[in-house]
Symmetry: C2
Subunit: 340 residues, 2 copies
């Protein structure tokens, strides 16, 4: 399947989902975008709604999912994804990670479609190992308030691997680190959108904790290119291998690098939250002060990806510098705020 | 609710479930036992089926669950629980952890019942900290073959905590370590039942790995007493506290010891697998040899509980020594095998 013809994407009206719809349409695919608009926004896909190869279905994937006709790929991106959102919708986040993943896997199986799960750097929790390779098992508290998202995504990964191993489905898992760019929601509570909106409004930039915690930020064009590279890669296991118990339980076979195992997608450059604040102030020319707020429970101190697997398997790496990406994003928010 | 009147238990035809049905009936409760008999056995509850306060419902809790009349407590024990079982039923294990937990929580909420989740020491994975207190976050690989059970139970814990925090449900989570005793299935692939059945048959005792990996084994009577102690404990949070966001996101409030946080239940005595083998040979008088097989992928090397929270909160601790417990269990299997 070098070129999937008909692609279904859940969470297609989200920040990343909207970009994926765009790129897939631009590449000539037919796109079915499914979203319940809980945290997604119709505006992300408004420009596509009359496109002959685009279809929007307003549906909650936790309730089950069926579509007519063939599907070549199913991309499961539906979920509240910012801490602010999943703390507001904890049960929905758990449900879409479990029920949504199950229903989309079942649909992919029924249609013989390739499946791609949008997982997250949050599966590493507050990591004790830096940078994090995909083999790092994470430091996640399942019972903390923010455990809902981490557990939902870890569960979704387990279920995806079970369909790879026991059902012979052709599955992919991308672990997406912080991504930013134009079209971010101004109110999603993420560091970059918060800082830009605050800087442009002349309001204080609010740093949680002392600002020395580090993050990696990937520009959205790079991220989308990475996701599509994972989706486009040929399977490196035969169906027989994928469902052969002996193969599955053999450590050496499992240890071989495979496009079916989780793949980190991120910009590996680490920046402290305070550095980002200063860069945003510089690029916006804002004179906002910086204020410090308490650090939320279980907010990770350091998170930095090891992307060597993506480099090796896909020949992919990010190209857009933080400064360039921030300029585009600031331009977007400047225009958005000017419109009121 | 010092004395719940009407109790529903999922997985009530399992090893622990069967004992719980027995004890609850003996204490004067009305018991609804729900089980789909995937890994549970009707034999575990056969002696109760004509009891006027006992009702068996053969149902799959992943499909939803509703019962007439009031409920005072819902105990969610349904799940394949031995590695052999959950590797045979990986998707079912994930489904009962997610869908089963969701449906039982919803039922408890609807009935205003107390909820107790049977979680597991497997949430600690292959621990890097020994012994494991409840605050240890575990070393779990969500994408390994045995990740299905670990992820399902971690997910179930997250969902349970979400209902405690955001819905004000009175929930309990017990993390159950290895438990053994009469009524264990002879074919569940667990260390103690394997060894006893092999020893009594004069077959070689099969040790996976070199046998130096340690485990803790709790006699079933002790475990059931612990579970009922957790269930019987009064709530230590007001409903208002449980649903107050400020309280929830406050580290110091969360750090207070609470009966609503997970509680390890186990016998803290550690024994190497090889020591158990020798003790079983001694107590059975068997002359079976010991043979060594490869260690399964992600089999934990060491697992030893810290039960100080259970001691402090419940005044509970195990009373039955390994030798005494093994004698009872060997007696059971001897009789079972004699019957053919």
């Amino acid at each position: 399947m070098p070129d999937p013809d008909r692609v279904l994407i859940t969470g297609g009206a989200g920040f990343l989902g909207g970009y994926l719809c765009d790129r897939l349409i631009a590449r000539g695919h037919e796109v079915l975008c499914v979203d319940n608009l809980l945290t997604g926004r119709a505006a992300h896909i408004a420009h596509l709604r009359d496109h002959p190869r685009f279809q929007f279905v307003e549906e909650d994937v936790t309730q089950g999912l069926d579509v007519d006709g063939p599907l070549d790929a199913v991309l499961h991106f539906a979920s509240p994804a910012s801490p602010k959102d999943y703390l507001e919708f904890p049960v929905e986040t758990l449900r879409v990670g479990a029920f949504g993943t199950f229903h989309t896997l079942e649909l992919a199986e029924k249609k013989g479609a390739r499946f791609l799960l949008a997982s997250t750097s949050e599966v590493y929790g507050d990591p004790l190992v830096n940078p994090q390779p995909e083999t790092y098992r994470g430091n996640v508290n399942p019972t903390s308030p923010r455990g809902v998202y981490d557990s939902a995504k870890r569960f979704a990964e387990s279920m995806t691997m079970a369909y790879l191993r026991y059902r012979g489905l052709d599955t992919r898992i991308v672990r997406i680190f912080n991504t930013y760019g134009p079209q971010m929601r101004r109110d999603d509570g993420r560091v970059i959108s918060n800082f830009i909106v605050q800087a442009l409004a002349g309001a204080p930039l609010t740093v949680h904790g002392d600002g020395t915690q580090t993050r990696s930020f990937c520009y959205v064009d790079d991220m989308v290119a990475g996701i599509l590279a994972v989706l486009g890669q040929s399977s490196d296991r035969t169906h027989a291998q994928r469902t052969d118990r002996a193969f599955l339980h053999n450590k050496s076979a499992e240890a071989e690098e495979s496009v079916h195992d989780p793949i980190n997608l991120a910009n590996p450059e680490a920046h402290s939250v305070l550095d980002i604040a200063h860069l945003v102030l510089e690029l916006t020319g804002s004179r906002s002060p910086i204020t410090f707020l308490p650090r939320p429970v279980d907010d990770p101190r350091v998170r930095r990806p090891d992307i060597s697997r993506a480099r090796r398997l896909l020949g992919w790496e990010p190209r857009v510098s933080l400064e360039e990406g921030l300029r585009h994003t600031i331009g977007y928010f400047r225009e958005l705020l000017a419109r009121g």
